[in-house]
């Protein structure tokens, strides 16, 4: 039975019934045909069920994407009549040095948006799950997940205060006698990108933790018990059981966070706007600048398409790799 058949099993019964009856009245040779058309009909009904989701998805996701791809072939300022330029916009993207910098920054952000949060999320999930049921775990879980609930714009403003010259971070450094290390973090050519990246880590870690927590709950406690019988400590339990069995959660966490890293915009727009110089410029910022400030809608669309393709490939690769047997 196909998925569609299972989904639509009972609904088309009367129609199918009548066909079968008609088929029964004919010769035996004609039997297969009505059966096939019945299946097709069921499939049509299945599509009807999909329509409520399919229609908005097509209207609000597929069509705008196609429209963007179409616009990427034009030189258009967003106001006057556009002129067709073919693939010129894509050529401009490949040769733009600013864009190469943006690609590097997006790559660096994967470290902060994916690698770091996944490590932190994993460790905190392991700790929280071992303490499950004890007092305070719910509170810890809530607090760690909280950044995920705050709008990113608010997060950005919050961290601007933290990173400011007389912000909490510098105050803390001065309080412990490290006043010499203080900096205007978001204005530093060296530190702006890591500073922005760490905000991302702060936001995403909670999500990763919750993902991994739900994963650990799925793992049979008997496996842990068996390991404990064999004399495994918490660390061994973590590396030998928790990590390997969380493979599906890894795939989900990695996909979500890599998408967040590559398509990041709001955090950077609020905190540094791409500065100082171009040291935190990412593709999202460039798309926004080009389309809304620079009146280069065609180039911006081309860049958006390239970014979409790159992200799709990244997610495909992640899923393919995680599907393979350990």
């Amino acid at each position: 039975m196909t998925t569609a058949d299972r989904l639509t099993g009972p609904a088309p019964a009367p129609g199918a019934q009548s066909r079968v009856e008609r088929g029964a009245g004919g010769t035996a040779r004609k039997h297969p045909r009505p059966a096939r058309s019945g299946r097709r009909r069921r499939r049509a009904v299945a599509l009807l069920y999909l329509l409520p989701a399919l229609l908005p998805y097509t209207l609000f996701a597929v069509l705008p994407l196609l429209h963007t791809a179409y616009l990427s072939l034009f030189d258009w300022d967003g106001v006057t009549l556009p002129s067709f330029v073919g693939l010129d916009n894509y050529g401009r993207i490949v040769t733009d040095p600013q864009l190469r910098a943006a690609a590097w920054h997006a790559g660096a952000l994967i470290l902060f948006f994916s690698v770091l949060p996944i490590c932190l999320g994993l460790v905190s999930a392991a700790i929280v799950s071992r303490r499950a049921g004890r007092r305070g775990t719910t509170l810890v879980r809530t607090v760690l997940f909280l950044p995920q609930v705050i709008p990113l714009v608010a997060v950005g403003i919050l961290w601007r205060w933290v990173y400011a010259e007389d912000g909490t971070l510098n105050q803390a450094l001065r309080a412990i006698g490290l006043g010499g290390l203080t900096d205007a973090w978001l204005g530093s050519f060296t530190w702006a990108l890591p500073a922005v990246g760490l905000i991302g880590s702060w936001v995403v870690s909670g999500l990763c933790m919750v993902l991994f927590l739900s994963g650990t709950q799925r793992i049979d406690p008997e496996i842990y018990e068996a390991a404990r019988m064999d004399g495994a400590g918490p660390v061994r339990e973590f590396t030998a059981i928790t990590v390997p069995l969380l493979r599906p959660e890894f795939a989900v966490a990695l996909s979500i966070t890599v998408i967040a890293a590559l398509s990041s915009f709001d955090l950077i727009y609020i905190t540094t706007g791409g500065g100082p110089g171009n040291s935190t410029v990412v593709p999202g910022i460039l798309i926004y600048r080009l389309a809304f400030g620079g009146g280069a809608v065609g180039v911006a669309s081309a860049l958006a398409i390239v970014l979409t393709v790159v992200i799709s490939i990244a997610v495909l690769v992640i899923n393919r790799l995680s599907r393979e047997a350990p």
């Binding site: 569609a4 196609l66 106001v79 006057t80 110089g277």
Partner: protein
């Protein structure tokens, strides 16, 4: 699971998706909704009469965060009870990025605050040429600085072509200072030349003070750079570049002097330390709280500075390069332009004209702007009075010049911010900095 039905259903699914897509694509015939050139954009024969018995609704879109625009609207409505004026306020950054789309819509506001980037609306014929109304009302005599909203048909050059609006409230930049600290440090103000100003900076720095309070996280050093350019560059070169004239350049020895001066101020430690990490607003706030000695900013900051420093707040115009030279500074203002889609052009023109009157001058001045009718501005005391006096000198010397990032190219705001951060961060020399600006200019005017 048999493979054939599954692949068939997937194909059907894709076909269905494609069909829906194709249908919707053909449904919207206008995939790139550029303005057609048939739209009317000239006002034609006009008069200054406003229909008094007709109910008219005007919509104003603006990013004016002072009391000026709402004040003018309220006063205008009181004078013309049959005209309802609705206001759509948007924050500055969002306004800059969205106004072109707003003006392209069929429901475009009648009046919009003119900002950089809106030049693109001119070739799209989305702005109304108001030259005829200007003649009928005599705006050339009423409004200073109309050249900043006069554009060529391709929208790329400012200062020549057709008039698209008026400047209701003007702004300009100068130097604020902390009177108490200046006195304590024995600084003689106002300085007669730029060199003297720099000597004051050095003295303040030697006394352990931040000489020039600034914030460059969002490119706030452009205030200092713009006024330095005003002082060094000839008005002709300045305007040619700022207004985006063909083959204009900023790679000039005088401009390099201005950029080097700014860089020296940063390098010698006169400017707020780690200036790239401080926002422009935070710099004003810090200065108003008593930090530092000098601050280069516009008259829009006067209210905040006066509130913070009270009687201890002082102001002088940016000094010229040589003693006794003409005062030149940078300024802009709140300019209103008109949508070519407006159905009530006569009422709109009446509103624009209203902003030049004596009644409007009081509202404009109260909001911290310089009114077009300088004589009608109520005289003020304290810091606001000093600023007002400074404005009179600027007008007398015809020293108001446009910001270089407003109309030179649509992307110049972002580019100038980036380049100033590189300059202040020690990542670019004055020459490289100017070359960076020129590249942006040439990308647009090629």
């Amino acid at each position: 699971m048999s493979p054939s039905p599954s692949s068939l259903s997937r194909r059907t699914f894709l076909t269905a998706t494609g069909a829906v897509g194709a249908a919707a694509l053909t449904a919207c015939s206008d995939l790139t909704p550029g303005a057609s050139s048939s739209e009317k954009s000239s006002s034609g024969p006009v008069s200054t009469a406003i229909p008094a018995d007709e109910k008219i609704t005007l919509v104003v879109a603006d990013a004016d965060d002072t009391t000026m625009t709402p004040g003018l609207i309220a006063a205008f409505r009181e004078k013309h009870p049959n005209i309802t004026v609705k206001r759509n306020y948007t924050g500055w950054d969002d306004y800059l990025k969205s106004i072109n789309t707003t003006m392209s819509a069929d429901s475009a506001p009648d009046i919009a605050q003119f900002t950089s980037g809106m030049q693109n609306l001119v070739p799209g014929r989305l702005l109304l040429k108001v030259g005829e109304y200007g003649k009928a009302y005599g705006w050339a005599e009423k409004f200073p600085g109309l050249d900043q909203i006069t554009l060529t048909p391709d929208g790329k050059t400012v200062g020549t072509g057709d008039l698209y609006g008026v400047g209701a409230g003007l702004s300009f930049e100068g130097v604020y200072y902390n009177k108490a600290k200046a006195q304590k440090l024995g600084l003689t103000v106002p300085p007669a030349t730029l060199d003297e100003l720099e000597a004051l900076f050095a003295k303040a720095k030697a006394a352990g003070e931040t000489a020039l309070v600034a914030g460059n996280l969002d490119g706030g050093l452009n205030h200092a750079f713009n006024v330095l350019l005003s002082a060094y560059l000839t008005p002709k070169d300045r305007e040619a570049w700022a207004y985006g004239h063909q083959s204009a350049t900023i790679v000039l020895p005088e401009a390099e002097k201005a950029a080097e001066t700014l860089k020296r101020w940063v390098d010698k430690g006169y400017v707020t330390p780690k200036v790239n990490g401080v926002s422009d607003n935070d710099a004003t706030a810090a200065f108003a709280k008593g930090e530092g000695v000098f601050r280069i900013s516009g008259n829009w900051a006067a209210a905040a500075v006066a509130e913070g420093l009270g009687e201890g707040a002082g102001y002088f115009n940016m000094p010229p390069v040589t003693s006794g030279g003409k005062v030149r500074t940078t300024g802009a203002g709140v300019y209103y332009c008109v949508s070519s889609k407006s159905k009530n052009a006569a009422a709109v023109a009446a509103f624009l004209d209203f902003t030049a009157g004596a009644e409007a001058a009081a509202i404009t001045a109260k909001a911290g702007f310089m009114a077009p009718d300088a004589g009608a501005m109520p005289s003020q005391s304290g810091l606001l009075g000093d600023v007002q006096q400074g404005w009179q000198t600027v007008v007398k010397d015809a020293g108001l010049q446009p910001f270089i990032q407003n109309s030179s190219s649509p992307t110049m705001g972002d580019t100038l911010t980036t380049q100033l951060q590189l300059l202040a961060g020690g990542k670019a020399t004055a020459g490289k900095f100017l070359a960076g600006l020129q590249t942006d200019f040439e990308n647009y005017h090629k």
